[in-house]
Subunit: 123 residues, 2 copies
DNA sequence: CCCCTGGATCGATGGATGTCAACATAGACG
DNA sequence: CGTCTATGTTGACATCCATCGATCCAGGGG
């Protein structure tokens, strides 16, 4: 695990809110790929569930229970999240553990920021 | 325009960072729908382009130029963004104008917030 | 060694999605 | 009214994607 399957893709456009200036075509493509990883209910719950675990990491065995889908499907979603650079994993003895990469998440969040706007009750 | 085609969907889970506690199944579904609207390069660029226009709104005639896709395709993407509650539109004489709904964007952004994390150089 | 268990991978399949060409509609303007 | 332009809608089509069952691989005990 913790493989280097992600050639580039690791440094999205980053940090200038997209409402400021028009996104470049390539940036938009990379960004869309990231959001696509978030565009699934199971993946969102996985991400949220992993992050909520004590210590910030969870064993796959903790993750298959709460869902209605099969184990291969969970494994597939975890792979998508990992290839999007949102989580990482490591085998530790018998089990494989996953954890969230907060910077990646925060980076996407900052892209969505809208200066003036009411921050949508954030906080 | 400005139709009320969006029955509910308008009030996403909102505001507690998803890394805090596990997302409820229904919330995840709604959230995923929102992110799905962002999960396309053309739509991201459209959103960014509209927001960047002076006055915060743009005529469709301004939006078809910068893209390689046909006008019906642009119209389709604008509809997707509108039904996701991210933009709204109004016909004004000959042209139709679109603008971004910043609260919706900010709401999604706040969901991605990660307390501790370096804020990914945000700012 | 052999088998058991946790987890990933493969191949197939049904459903969603992006795209286009063709057509429909709404104002503007004679 | 008739027609021209700006947009939206429809139907078709190719591709992508979530999901599953079957299978494979890795470690840990016997």
């Amino acid at each position: 695990m913790s493989k280097k399957e992600l050639p580039v893709l690791q440094a999205p456009p980053c940090c200038t809110p997209m409402v400021r200036e028009p996104l470049a075509e390539d940036d938009a493509k990379a960004l869309a790929a990231s959001f696509k990883a978030l565009a699934d209910p199971v993946r969102l719950r996985l991400l949220s569930l992993i992050a909520s675990f004590a210590g910030g990491e969870a064993c796959v065995c903790d993750l298959t229970g709460p869902f209605d889908v099969s184990q291969p499907t969970i494994s597939h979603h975890l792979r998508v999240l990992r290839e999007a650079g949102l989580i990482d994993s490591e085998r530790r003895g018998t089990w494989v553990y996953y954890w969230v990469l907060p910077e990646a998440l925060a980076r996407l969040g900052s892209l969505l920021a809208t200066d003036g706007a009411a921050a949508a009750g954030a906080r």
